[in-house]
């Protein structure tokens, strides 16, 4: 018999409620409500997060969290992590969908040794991010690693 621990299954629930026009609210137990709208190109309001924006953001956030979890485990000194994502929504095989996400994290590391380890950890993060695995689009990761300036070398 296979003595491995069985993998758990996780469930995530939330509610969407229509407010007016092309706007609504996403809510989930214990979390702040999130106002959403269609993107402005599709008649929505630019000041609200659209499902397209949120979708692109999940790819970005997941990579950061996966990287930070690895960095914490390996005691890598990260001074800052900022990242931009761009998702391309286009018609493919007759339907609109996201075909590509480009994620551009900029990391500032405490030491040259941290920087080298961060490069390796970023590669691992890329292959184990569960959101990247859940989307059909190609996820392109273009990280930039910088060494902290003198006096900036303590974690904020």
């Amino acid at each position: 018999m296979d003595g491995r621990r069985p993998h758990r299954v996780f469930r995530f629930r939330n509610n969407a409620t229509w407010k007016s026009g092309r706007t609504g609210v996403i809510s989930a137990s214990g979390k702040p409500d999130l106002a959403t709208s269609s993107p402005p190109e599709f008649g929505g309001r630019p000041e609200y997060w659209s499902p397209e924006d949120l979708f692109a953001a999940t790819v970005n956030v997941c990579l950061m969290q996966t990287f930070m979890a690895f960095a914490a485990r390996s005691n890598v000194g990260v001074v800052s992590y900022e990242s931009e994502v761009e998702g391309v929504l286009e018609r493919a095989e007759g339907r609109y969908r996201f075909t590509e996400f480009t994620v551009r994290p900029v990391l500032v590391l405490q030491t040259a040794a941290d920087l080298e380890r961060a490069r390796t950890l970023m590669e691992s993060a890329e292959s184990s991010c569960l959101i990247s695995e859940s989307v059909r689009a190609n996820v392109r990761l273009v990280p930039e690693f910088r060494l902290a300036a003198m006096g900036q070398r303590t974690v904020a």
């Binding site: 996403i26 214990g30 397209e52 924006d53 969290q65």
Partner: protein
């Protein structure tokens, strides 16, 4: 020669900054920042949106907004639209991913005539929802429609 329809493509950006431990802020132009973190199952905090939850929320909202866009085109307006969604994260061949998202909208319509139109619209919502088209997992849409005030 038959003129071929050209389709536009769109780009969406979102910035992210790490704040502490497993938390960060997502930012996008004129929108207010949203705090994000790991889900509680992965050492995160329950009061913060996680990417897994935002992804399920994006599918849920996308279905709603797609329905509403078609409803406007067909000149009906629902009395209310509320929808619950659930996503399942499980391990497949050694890698965790969202394998399934179930969306269950409850829609109240003004009349039997509107209800019939809404039923017809619902048939094409899933295939026109950009977010569900972008997922590798299975998406199920199970709407409940009724007439009411």
């Amino acid at each position: 020669m038959e003129p071929k329809k050209t389709y536009r493509s769109f780009r969406y950006k979102a910035d992210l900054a790490w704040t502490s431990a497993r938390r960060g802020l997502i930012k996008s132009l004129s929108k207010h920042d949203v705090e994000v973190g790991s889900p509680p199952e992965f050492k995160g905090e329950p009061g913060v949106w996680s990417p897994e939850e935002l992804l399920v929320g994006a599918v849920n909202t996308c279905m709603m907004l797609t329905f509403l866009a078609f409803a406007v085109r067909k000149e009906i307006e629902p009395v209310s639209y509320e929808s619950s969604a659930e996503g399942m994260l499980e391990n497949v061949d050694g890698q965790y991913r969202i394998t399934q998202v179930t969306v269950q909208p409850s829609i109240v319509l003004k009349s039997e005539a509107d209800l019939a139109v809404a039923e017809e619209i619902m048939k094409s919502v899933k295939e026109n929802c950009f977010i569900s088209n972008s997922l590798s997992g299975r998406v199920t849409l199970s709407p409940q429609l009724r007439v009411g005030a």
